[in-house]
């Protein structure tokens, strides 16, 4: 079944909405800054969305993660699109699938710093709908008025890529007439200190695939996209979800498979589901975290699977690794090239890793693309590849 992407929006340190993101990409202007998160002295760079602080009226739903979801949903036309669909089909015929890795643990962290003297939660933090892993979809259902099935996918850094695959399947069975998919993850002490404990953070702006890369930068983002069956909408965006692949490494909780077997499987599955061959792909937005291991394994795999004609880049030097929101953030960067006809370069790449040889460049390229791909790999060896095409 053909699935159209009828609208999308992105909110990150590289731009509070898709227009601002496009401008940052064109100007090669990064949103990364020196870590200034309260309570954290870790020497690293982060992609902070400053506007989150203005969203402080969520009452019982308040958390930094929910605030970022609300901020993202207020951008562009996404709210308008969803409201029209609710009016057309009824709220119970619209599905909702959110991806996240932190959910609202930022709020639980805060609650633990403001416990009562007897070590109990203080009144303002008695928020059952916030302190649980389903918080992102519970809040998004409240925010949007969607009453159809609402699920949260938490597969670490592949979470909000997998929402597209689940959304496509839901549409194929007709249980809903449209699906709002999204991803949201916020900077919090858990992830900063967690990645620091794994010695994965860089004290410098990240340099994906560079010979001298020395780790990742974390960021926060929210993103949304609306999916419908082809033929049931006018698809003004002209973008189609052509394929997806989902796989497991079966190797280690926090190290990628050394030969990238799981990643290979998710890419080949996406191609075969779309009925395409590697040479059909114009652009791949890579997972490209800037960690030594990920970039080496992913880069080698790309050179084995794809010809030189396929342009690749990692865009994480613009907004950092946004974890559970990275899947949809980078899906949007990839699919947006079908609208802008500009393939973003791989920011901060100076000298390609000497062990790698594939078509990645720091400079942008103007090209009318037909088919674009994006990779997302997460802890637990959880992989997802998405493939978007220009609708015929």
């Amino acid at each position: 079944m053909k699935i159209d992407i009828i609208d999308y929006e992105s909110c990150s340190a590289a731009g509070v909405n898709i227009s601002a993101l496009r401008a940052s990409l064109r100007q090669h202007k990064s949103g990364l800054i020196k870590n200034n998160l309260p309570g954290s002295a870790i020497d690293t760079w982060v992609g902070v969305v400053g506007e989150i602080a203005e969203v402080n009226d969520l009452g019982q739903w308040q958390s930094r993660n929910n605030a970022l979801a609300a901020l993202g949903y207020a951008q562009g036309t996404i709210r308008h699109t969803v409201t029209n669909l609710i009016n057309q089909y009824g709220a119970a015929r619209i599905g909702l699938i959110m991806g996240s890795s932190t959910s609202s643990i930022d709020r639980t962290e805060e609650a633990y710093t403001k416990l009562n003297q007897d070590h109990t939660l203080s009144e303002e933090f008695i928020q059952p709908n916030v302190h649980n892993p389903h918080a992102p979809a519970l809040f998004a259902a409240h925010l949007t008025g969607i009453k159809g099935p609402s699920l949260t996918i938490n597969t670490a850094c592949s979470s909000s890529a997998k929402v597209f695959a689940t959304g496509a399947r839901w549409l194929a069975t007709g249980i809903v007439d449209a699906v709002l998919v999204g991803g949201v993850d916020t900077l919090c002490l858990s992830v900063l200190h967690g990645f620091n404990s794994l010695q994965l953070l860089s004290a410098n702006p990240c340099k994906p695939f560079d010979q001298h890369r020395d780790g990742i930068n974390l960021g926060e983002a929210s993103g949304f996209a609306v999916l419908q069956r082809a033929g049931e909408n006018d698809n003004g965006r002209g973008i189609r979800l052509a394929g997806y692949g989902e796989s497991s490494d079966a190797y280690h909780m926090s190290h990628p498979h050394p030969e990238g077997l799981g990643a290979r499987l998710s890419m080949t599955q996406a191609l075969s589901r779309a009925g395409l061959t590697p040479r059909d792909i114009d652009y791949i937005n890579l997972h490209g975290t800037s960690s030594r291991a990920n970039d080496l394994i992913e880069g080698k795999l790309i050179s084995e699977l794809f010809p030189d004609s396929v342009r690749c880049s990692s865009t994480k030097a613009w907004m950092g690794h946004t974890l559970g929101a990275a899947g949809i953030t980078e899906a949007i960067v990839a699919m947006d090239t079908l609208s802008t006809n500009v393939i973003p370069g791989s920011k901060n790449l100076e000298t390609l890793d000497e062990a790698l040889n594939f078509s990645i460049k720091a400079a942008d390229e103007t090209k009318v693309c037909q088919h674009v791909m994006t990779n997302s790999f997460g802890f637990g060896g959880n992989n997802c590849t998405l493939l978007f095409s220009r609708a015929e």
Binding site: G39, S40, G90, A91, A92, S101, I105, T108, E109, A111, Y112, L115, T120, L121, Q127, P128, N129, H131, N132, P133, H134, A137, A141, K147, G148, P149, S150, L151, T152, I153, N154, T155, A156, R169, T173, G174, I175, L189, S190, H193, G194, F195, N196, S197, L198, E232, E246, S247, S248, D249, A250, M253, S254, L261, G262, L265, F379, G380, G381, N382
Partner: protein
């Protein structure tokens, strides 16, 4: 487009809780057997390599044990199954550990505890222990975790024609978080399902999504206090209404799915 009926065959069941070590034990309790005198501490699934097992948190061990039982009963190789793992509460012991550490002066986290804190840790340990390279999903649905997971997995089974492993698990909640998440019981339950037209022996289950803003979780047949508590407080244990239906397949059950929908489930004898 009209919503399709979703059909699949259940070919294996696994279960683990403080008073039962498998599906037979759970069925006995559902049938009114007296509670065993001693409460079990937690499973030690042999499929997880010993050095990993020592570090594996309770939710991981629960999920892996019950998944292993279901695949054994189904007589299938675990690595042929696409998986959906669900917990309504997540690993609150690790949430508690991280938040306490981060609220203290010394914020150094254990790297192992950090990577174990991801919601998909059970899916990760399962795929690593069994060599499963199939897709492994990890989802959350709070109070609707069971109905959402049945929906998600039955849709995947139908649209991709793949046999599936579904595992529902929730562990007792850490002290500080009990005012918001009440559960104090340990529970895991797994199903191995095949597409309805697969050439395997199994119990046919049909699910339909219907519009319904009023649905509530159905009353259980069991009048055991323990089972009642489990069903009321442990989000994963909401699957007990389906467990009873499998043994007494008369009529159908309706599960709340979202604020505007419910999932109707019936199964053949």
């Amino acid at each position: 487009m009209q919503a399709k009926e979703l059909k699949c065959k259940i070919v294996g069941v696994g279960a683990w809780g403080s008073y039962f070590e498998n599906w037979q034990g759970l069925q006995a309790l559902l049938n009114g057997a007296a509670l065993p005198e001693t409460k079990l501490k937690g499973p030690k699934p042999g499929i997880i390599p010993a050095n990993e097992r020592r570090r594996a948190p309770l939710p991981v061990r629960l999920a892996v044990e019950s998944s292993w039982q279901a695949t054994k009963e189904a007589g299938v190789e675990p690595n042929t199954l696409t998986c959906v793992f669900v917990s309504g509460l997540g690993d609150t012991d690790l949430t508690d550990y991280m938040c306490k550490t981060l609220a203290s002066e010394h914020k150094e986290l254990s790297p192992t505890k950090f990577h174990n804190s991801v919601h998909n840790a059970p899916a990760g340990y399962w795929t690593i222990s069994t060599g499963t390279m199939c897709a492994a999903n990890s989802v959350a649905g709070y109070e609707a975790s069971v109905s959402l997971t049945l929906l998600e997995a039955m849709i995947q089974c139908e649209t991709e024609h793949s046999p599936m492993l579904l595992t529902f698990y929730d562990a007792p909640v850490a002290d500080i978080l009990t005012p918001v998440l009440a559960n104090q019981e340990t529970f895991a339950f797994s199903l191995v399902v095949f597409p309805h037209d697969a050439n395997v022996q199994g119990q046919l289950v049909t699910a339909r999504v219907k519009q319904d803003e009023q649905a509530t979780w159905p009353a259980l047949r069991s009048n055991s206090d323990y089972i009642g508590q489990l069903y009321a407080k442990n989000p994963a244990a909401k699957v007990l209404c389906l467990a009873e239906l499998l043994k007494h397949p008369e009529g159908q059950i309706v599960m709340p799915l979202s604020s505007g929908t419910a999932l109707t489930i019936s199964c053949e004898e």
